[in-house]
Symmetry: C2
Subunit: 101 residues, 2 copies
Amino acid sequence: MNTVFDALSHPIRREVLEHLKRGGMTAGELADHFPVSKPTMSGHFAKLKAAGLILGENRGGTIVYTLNLSVLEEAVMGFMNRVRVGRDAADPGNVHRGEAR
Amino acid sequence: MNTVFDALSHPIRREVLEHLKRGGMTAGELADHFPVSKPTMSGHFAKLKAAGLILGENRGGTIVYTLNLSVLEEAVMGFMNRVRVGRDAADPGNVHRGEAR
DNA sequence: TCGTTATTTAGCTAATACGCTAAATAGCTA
DNA sequence: TAGCTATTTAGCGTATTAGCTAAATAACGA
């Protein structure tokens, strides 16, 4: 929980997650979308990974990062349910079904 | 957006929002639930307020803070929709309706 | 093996965040 | 006015964060 919200506190890291929504990307591909150095991006990846928000698969030389959406859902939606009045908090599943329409 | 996620990055501030879910509380009442000094809590309130997540109403001497749920919803659910694949992003209203079942 | 590419680690600086105590402010009541 | 309560502001120390460049590591192709 804590590590997830810490990770989400930086705009670059939130944007990285958005870039990954349609599938995996390499560290280099991701880094090219941001105006900071690659070592800096590497640090951002490390934080996202520590929070469990992304997974890194090493494919000889390059590393492919993928989004771990379930961790994000659980932390964020869990918190949102805790902040809203009781009515919904009892059924953890309905949020996701609800969004999917 | 940025200020909202910054505000959410500290566990005390998230918990303050939870405390306010059923109605307003004074700064002092809120502070009593946390193991840090009142000036420190005052700083947390200031950050939540700057992000628009709480509103402070001055009632002669004491200040009553209330949750501004719509700001939280807009920032957090907006982000969640951006991170999930396209299908849902088009209809901003359905998230809230979906949760309420 | 050598060079090239991809990524991370090390080491640094500057800025921000968080906690504290002491003091200031504002309103209330005697 | 004086004193009391509630809250914030000021000022300080320390820890963390975010950026950088330079160097290390790892895998690949010639």
